[in-house]
Symmetry: C2
Subunit: 151 residues, 2 copies
């Protein structure tokens, strides 16, 4: 439960890889290194590129590069590029009202929890994935009202 998709997982691995590696890397290269199905990795990278997180270079000797610096891309960015908006409840996105929407008694509290999660994802940058922070020493506390992140 609350698990993120494999594609998103792959995406994060690729981003972390690109954050370290200078220059560009091809889909095949990354896929083989992490034992990810090549075609699937390609698709994931394409999506990241389409969402402006990566820049792509076509043709032989082509590949992908981070579009911004690794400190400027959050894992929330990556996840949302792959899986769409993060939503804890079925009702959170647009008018996706589940059958219980009208009578629901837990909607607001759950949205608040959702904000905490999105906030946590937004504050963790790809750079932190790459050079895995040694000990999470003194990180900024997550404040509830700190996330105006909703879609």
């Amino acid at each position: 439960m609350l698990r993120l998709s494999k594609k998103a997982d792959y995406a994060l691995m690729a981003m972390a890889h690109l954050a370290l590696k200078p220059g560009s890397a091809s889909a095949r290269e990354i896929a083989e290194k992490y034992e990810i199905p090549t075609e699937l990795m390609a698709k994931v990278l394409q999506r990241l590129a389409r969402h402006g997180l990566l820049t792509s270079q076509q043709g032989a000797r082509g590949g992908y590069t981070l579009a911004r610096t690794a400190t400027g891309i959050s894992v929330a960015d990556v996840i949302q590029a792959i899986d769409g908006p993060v939503s804890v409840t079925a009702c959170s996105t647009h008018g996706d009202r589940c059958g219980q929407f009208a009578k629901c008694n837990v909607r607001d509290p759950l949205w608040r929890i959702s904000d905490i999660i999105v906030s946590a994802l937004s504050k963790t940058m790809v750079s932190e994935l790459a050079n895995d922070v040694p000990a999470a020493v003194e990180r900024a506390p997550i404040q509830i009202a700190a996330a105006p992140v909703r879609a």
Copy 2:
């Protein structure tokens, strides 16, 4: 993505309902009130009872009651009772090692995020779901190291 299951959702609604209502309530009663499939609601409640979050009374005029006070049950308790341990990654539980486990470069950072999420869920009590806190005024900040909550 990162959505919680419908069953968990139903469970939280039921818990919030029971937190308000004095005495006990039957599965059918709750199911009808929130337009939840009766048989499914029953199953969810049974599971909550088996995990010690509810006490059940069989037979006519039977039903369910909160086993503890609403301030003593967290939404993490409820979710875990229904869906098992909260895990952001496929590898988080026991030896559920996905194919990439060996070469994975994002495992640790993701677990840290997972801890933040679990922490948020553990700090929100069923009582807060019930009488939806007026404005989330001054809540304790979520600290990263604050969650020794793993399984």
